[in-house]
């Protein structure tokens, strides 16, 4: 008996010919757009993008209809529009990242992370002074705001999803209203209700309080969504095993929603890490390193960026761009750390 060698195949994948057609469509559209931009009044990158999107959509649809008939018309138009939509969303994100990296990298130098602005001015050349005080300030702000908002947000979410006690509807309404509060109002609120009348003056802790006001609704609403995704069966199974509601929530519901709750925390940090407006009234904006968040002014990276931006000289603008780059890298590394530490136990 002869044995037939069977090779694994993927007949649903695009053939080289299909890929060639797609590449041809893209190349042809790019070429036609280029000619249009060069030969007519349509000028610049935007003109090119508009032409490219229109021409490539039309070509793609024509190719699709020729291959699969009229039925493919709607399908091809829809998928082209979806690709265009995705590109339009990604474009600003990548151009911001590109700008921050290219412009910010020029100002990177070793003493940036070891020195403060205590003996330097924003108008000095970039290699004088550093942003250590702002980096430390931002870490303090994020940590204190997290210590306040994460437990409060998750407990509120648990009240709204698990206990559904009295006033749940009203609390839900307040949380929704809070997520719409302009960030400067949060700063003003802490300024009038804490800094003016309590012993806590403008400081890192006061700034963190203002940020917590912004972070709590984000953490609460995201946590609520993920807790609602935990199947009701699991709660019943826990209760049927003779557990109290508290035990069921703590040992079954929260661990099952663990990854989602970490995401809620990350989204909360993302909401506040770049905020400048609430800090203007609340942290003072020191130029020297201050390790005590409860006494005296502190700085923060967004504050440092803002200060450099308003001065407007080439040196101060360079400082602002470098501050933006450091802030981006800091937030990104916090997210990666949270994902790796949080994702460990679940395995897959």
């Amino acid at each position: 008996m002869t044995t037939i060698q069977v090779k694994p195949q993927r007949p649903w994948k695009a053939t080289p010919r299909d890929m060639g057609t797609t590449a041809g469509v893209i190349l042809l559209s790019a070429l036609a757009s280029l000619l249009l931009v060069l030969g007519t009044g349509l000028k610049g990158k935007i003109g090119f993008m508009v032409c490219f999107i229109l021409i490539s959509t039309i070509l793609q649809v024509v190719v699709g209809v020729r291959k699969f008939g009229r039925k493919a018309l709607g399908d091809n138009i829809a998928s082209s529009l979806i690709y265009v939509g995705a590109a339009i969303v990604f474009l600003p994100v990548f151009s911001i990242l590109y700008m921050a990296v290219t412009k910010g990298a020029a100002g990177l130098h070793p003493s940036l992370f070891t020195e403060t602005m205590f003996n330097a001015s924003f108008l000095d050349p970039i290699d004088k002074g550093g942003l250590l005080h702002s980096l430390v300030g931002t870490l303090y702000l994020i940590s204190i705001a997290m210590i306040i908002s994460v437990p409060m947000g998750i407990l509120t979410a648990l009240y709204l999803t698990e206990i559904r006690g009295p006033g749940a509807g009203f609390i839900q309404f307040i949380v929704q209203a809070m997520s719409g509060v302009p960030s400067v109002v949060a700063g003003l609120f802490i300024f009038t209700s804490v800094i003016l009348i309590s012993p806590l003056k403008a400081s890192g802790a006061a700034g963190a309080l203002a940020l917590a006001i912004l972070m709590i609704p984000t953490v609460t609403r995201t946590s609520q969504e993920v807790l609602l995704l935990v199947p009701h069966d699991l709660r019943e199974a826990g209760l049927a095993l003779g557990a109290t509601q508290w035990k069921t929530v703590a040992t079954i519901v929260v661990p099952a929603a663990r990854n989602g709750l970490i995401t809620a925390t990350i989204l909360g940090v993302a909401r506040i890490a770049g905020e400048t407006a609430p800090l203007i009234f609340t942290i003072g904006g020191a130029d020297k390193l201050n390790l005590n968040p409860f006494k005296d002014y502190q700085s923060a990276l967004p504050f440092y960026v803002w200060k450099g931006l308003v001065l407007g000289t080439p040196e101060s603008l360079q400082r602002a761009w470098t501050g933006i780059l450091v802030l981006l890298v800091l937030v990104l590394s916090l997210f990666i750390a949270a994902r790796t530490l949080g994702g460990k136990k679940m395995g897959k």
Binding site: P231, L234, A237, G238, L239, L241, G242, T251
Partner: protein, 280 residues
């Protein structure tokens, strides 16, 4: 009597000869007296009185929506988790009403375990942790956890399949294995009564058979109440059968008796129509 019903009766007879119902010497069992259940103003279950002798298996049969599940959920007080739910009547466990004021409801649920229709192992725990989760949840003290773990898995008929991967996540098991894991989990807290709400309805015939063997094994040491839509299953595993029916209004219990009699000589014509497959 048509063929389907008489073949059911044959199975049932074999089972009845294996065991004389109600003879197991433990506790005083479980008794429901005049149980009613409401959802909001809708009366879902009316006046059910049933006596479950210790060490017997009772099957609850009847068409969907006749209140079987609602009834067993009143027994371990899971009914009250539905926000608009209400009930009337008494459920006596060893002579004490589980609804009496001052009763610790978590203790009731430790004594009356439950297995649900859909397998629901805890996804954040390993196989071993799942089995012992009741111990952790109810904060019980156990001398030898490994011994208990093995005992529960052996009794649930799962030990040989999982003994080498107790540290693996429960999500990797098949549906039938997951359901036996859930049975093992409810055994770990040593309940006197085990409620099973259509435990095999999501499983293939092979897994169903394994669970039925498990039920027969468990019935030597505990009282089991099983809701099922599968009449062969009721005939195979139970000593007694109760037939529930809702005729437009609230669900009521039409008839209860030794399983052999319900399937061969039902007193009520509605029971006979149901077990012979003429409706439902």
């Amino acid at each position: 009597m048509n063929n389907a019903a008489s073949s059911l009766a044959d199975v049932s007879k074999q089972r009845a000869t294996q065991k004389s119902p109600g003879s197991a010497p433990m506790g005083t069992g479980l008794e429901a007296r005049g149980v009613h259940a409401w959802f909001g103003s809708h009366l879902a279950l009316e006046d059910v009185s049933l006596d479950f002798a210790a060490g017997t298996v009772t099957a609850l049969i009847g068409p969907s929506g006749c209140g079987k599940s609602t009834f067993i959920r009143t027994i371990n007080r899971m009914h009250e988790f539905i926000p608009t739910a209400a009930m009337a009547g008494e459920v006596l466990l060893d002579g004490k009403d589980v609804y009496a004021p001052g009763t610790d409801v978590t203790k009731i649920r430790l004594q009356i375990g439950m297995v649900f229709q859909k397998p629901n192992p805890f996804p954040s725990m390993t196989i071993g942790e799942n089995v012992l989760s009741g111990i952790k949840l109810a904060q019980l003290k156990v001398d030898n956890k490994e011994e208990l773990l093995e005992e529960c898995l052996v009794r649930a008929g799962l030990w040989n399949e999982v003994k080498d991967r107790l540290g693996a996540h429960a999500g990797g098991l098949s549906g039938g294995q997951q359901q036996r894991l859930c049975i093992a989990r409810s055994l770990a807290v040593q309940p006197k009564v085990l409620l099973m709400d259509e435990p095999c309805s999501a499983l293939d015939p092979g897994s169903t058979l394994r669970i039925e063997e498990t039920i027969s094994e468990l019935s030597k040491s505990m009282t089991i109440i099983i809701v099922t839509h599968n009449m062969q299953q009721a005939a195979r595993v139970s000593d007694y059968t109760a037939f529930f029916l809702s005729e437009g209004g609230p669900g009521r219990m039409i008839e209860v008796g030794p399983t052999t009699e319900i399937f061969t000589r039902p007193r009520d014509i509605k029971t006979e129509n149901y077990v012979s497959g003429r409706f439902g």
